[in-house]
């Protein structure tokens, strides 16, 4: 059976999932490439993946735990590490996928494949960061003798939503950056501000308690806010407000789906714009 291709000036606006599946080998190989070259030629190599989250956790403990004296229901280091595990995944995938089209423009000008493969493939390598932060977290669980909640069975579902959130925002950024280079500068800014606008080193409940209601809603439009809260609920059973978590989860889902449509719209003209 021969493949028939018809090219006209009309382009479908529906994301082509079937075509994406045909390119799953490319998806895996691009992820493998990123994995292989991430720490290539660095002296400390893989240790960088350990040093970065460790230092961030340490600083947050000092600033928020010691200086600002934030109180949490479990030992503060456990609290921060659990937030960082999710955040480091999100921030890595977001910054990588957000800049991915610009970074591979040479390739985009020379060959066709579903362009979505490029930002999507970044979601895999981010798991290095997640697992390392998670390993630190397990260490702290043992050291502080924190009990593991039975809700831990929900972790895969929560991870799924954090993939949606990181890719949703990342794909939006990658397509917007092609259209408006301004977003190249917005991206690192979002990651930086997000570190403080997400309940990583303080409880989300504190935000709900101390801010007016409308501001709390605004706060939980940040998809990672609710996801990190519910992640803590799943691993050590901290209290969580279902309303706010569902706001975050819906935002993650909506961002992901709309990103696919916007990306589709930009996909055809990428080579003419870069």
């Amino acid at each position: 059976m021969k493949i028939k291709t018809i090219i006209t000036e009309k382009n479908s606006s529906i994301p082509n999932i079937k075509e994406l599946l045909q390119f799953k080998d490319l998806f895996m190989l691009l992820a493998y490439r990123d994995f292989k070259v991430r720490y290539a030629q660095t002296f400390l190599g893989f240790f960088w993946a350990l040093i970065q989250p460790l230092m961030s956790i340490l600083i947050l403990i000092v600033v928020f735990g010691e200086i600002a004296n934030v109180k949490t229901e479990v030992a503060f280091p456990v609290y921060v590490a659990s937030g960082m595990a999710m955040w480091s995944y999100f921030s890595y995938v977001l910054s990588q996928s957000g800049s991915s089209l610009i970074a591979s423009q040479q390739m985009l000008k020379k060959i066709y494949f579903p362009r979505l493969i490029i930002p999507l493939s970044k979601s895999i390598v981010g798991f290095i960061d997640f697992f390392i932060a998670f390993a630190i977290l397990i260490g702290l669980f043992i050291y502080y003798q924190v009990d593991v909640s039975s809700n831990i069975v929900y972790v895969p579902l929560i991870l799924f939503f954090s993939i949606l959130a990181s890719l949703g925002v990342g794909i939006w950024f990658s397509a917007l950056t092609i259209r408006f280079r301004d977003f190249q500068h917005v991206l690192p800014f979002v990651v930086q501000v997000g570190l403080y606008a997400t309940p990583i080193a303080y409880p989300g409940q504190k935000v709900i308690d101390s801010l007016p209601e409308w501001l709390s809603y605004l706060y939980f439009i940040n998809p990672m806010a609710g996801i990190i809260e519910v992640f803590r609920w799943s691993i050590f059973g901290s209290a969580v407000d279902p309303l706010y978590v569902s706001i975050s989860a819906s935002v993650a889902l909506i961002l992901f789906i709309t990103s696919l449509f916007y990306f589709r719209k930009m996909e055809y003209i990428i080579a003419d714009l870069i």
Binding site: N11, D25, K110, Y112
Partner: protein, 407 residues
């Protein structure tokens, strides 16, 4: 009658030039206010109403000068860029090779790059695994296959990259000027491989090249494009004649073509370039001069210190040489810029091998182009006797001014 593999129907492609391609957010916001105000965008039709069919198993060469639309049509067929008008039907799996080694990563080993590049070109991992030994053999780099490609010589790199491409098995193969890289020996091997495959499996090939010899040996049919339009379609030998004729006629006219607009601030505009030689044609070793005729648009402009520059490219768009009056410490003052006078650039002894060449020029004030044009004039150079040669200069890129003696 064979089945049609590719049917290109009235395809046009418009680029917007003059506007920044990737605009800033502020501009878009700004433009939203004056939506109906004048559209400043310049349109440029890279392809205009091009139609032709390619039958299954046919090998078609596409020819044309730089900017004729060859690459654009390949990019549309490869789905890299969308068409503006028209319709294309393609029957069969397509692989396009607009560059060798797309996606190669310097830190990865040869083996890893084979898989990466292969999947980018549309092969599955399984297909690559099956052909892995053949690919490595063909490239002839088996002992370095587990070395990162950053340590490869450029020759090895190209051989590996091309080897992956040569083992693609699509029904339709689209090839841009990729054979221009790599050594001659390997080029021949690749051409052989491509020919062999197309004869055995009836593969359809669309092939763009400036290399007339390889077009002649590989293709049966040629399509000639000029300024975005199809101007000839027929037997490869006739198509090549037509293409060469196109270049010749532009030499005979010896005029600045209006193909591409002048670029510059236009205080002065070159209106004509004449080639001057002893007998009308340019030969190796001959004295050649280029006379620039111009008009002055801004009578009040002070032309003191303005200078002239030329670049000559060969037909593969390699820069052969550039020259300017500043190179040899010649300067022109304001009084010498008078309409009706010429600026003349002379080469005493044209040393480069016979072939097609393109002259670009620029007239510069400080660091600002007043007028410039790429490939403004094409000229053909015939064989001849350069310097003190007694025999015709045949092999190599350039003749040299040399002596032999006993000392």
């Amino acid at each position: 009658m064979k089945q049609t593999a590719i049917s290109i129907q009235n395809v046009s492609k418009r680029y917007k030039i003059g506007v920044k391609r990737s605009s800033s957010f502020r501009e878009t916001l700004g433009n939203a206010w004056k939506k109906n105000a004048e559209q400043v965008s310049n349109e440029f039709w890279a392809l205009k109403d091009v139609s032709f069919d390619v039958a299954e198993g046919e090998i078609v060469g596409i020819m044309g000068k730089n900017g004729a639309g060859k690459s654009t049509i390949l990019k549309i067929l490869s789905k890299i860029t969308p068409l503006t008008k028209g319709r294309i039907e393609i029957d069969g799996r397509v692989a396009s090779l607009l560059e060798v080694g797309t996606g190669f990563h310097a830190e990865l080993t040869g083996m890893q790059n084979i898989f990466l590049n292969g999947t980018i070109l549309g092969m599955t991992r399984k297909e690559i695994k099956n052909k892995l030994d053949q690919i490595i053999d063909f490239a002839g780099i088996s002992q370095f296959i587990n070395t990162p490609v950053k340590h490869y010589s450029s020759g090895m790199y190209v051989r590996l990259a091309f080897s992956v491409a040569a083992h693609l098995e699509p029904e339709i193969l689209i090839v841009d000027e990729v054979l221009a890289v790599g050594d001659i020996e390997f080029q021949k091997k690749c051409l052989g491989k491509m020919q062999e495959v197309s004869q055995n499996s009836g593969r359809t090939i669309l092939f763009v090249s400036h290399n007339l010899a390889s077009l002649k040996s590989l293709c049966q049919r040629g399509v000639v494009l000029s300024r975005g339009q199809k101007v000839y379609d027929g037997e490869i030998v006739d198509a090549i004649d037509h293409y060469v004729g196109l270049s010749k006629s532009s030499t005979e006219e010896n005029k600045v073509s209006v193909r591409e607009a002048h670029v510059g601030t236009m205080e002065l505009e070159v209106t004509k370039i004449d080639i001057g030689t002893r007998n009308g044609t340019v030969s190796v070793g001959e004295e050649v001069d280029f006379r620039f005729e111009y008009i002055i648009h801004d009578k009040n402009f002070n032309f003191n210190g303005c200078h002239w520059g030329v670049q000559v490219h060969d037909d593969d768009n390699n820069l052969i040489f550039s020259h300017g009056n500043q190179f040899i410490d010649v300067s022109f003052n304001h009084d010498q810029f008078v309409e009706g006078k010429y600026f003349k650039f002379s080469i005493r002894n044209f040393p480069f091998k016979p072939g097609q060449y393109w002259l670009s020029y620029n007239v510069v004030d400080q660091n600002r182009y007043m007028d410039s044009m790429d490939s403004a004039l094409g000229f053909e150079v015939h064989s001849g006797l350069p310097f003190n040669y007694q025999k015709e200069f045949k092999s190599g890129i350039s003749a040299v001014d040399a002596t032999w003696e006993v000392i």
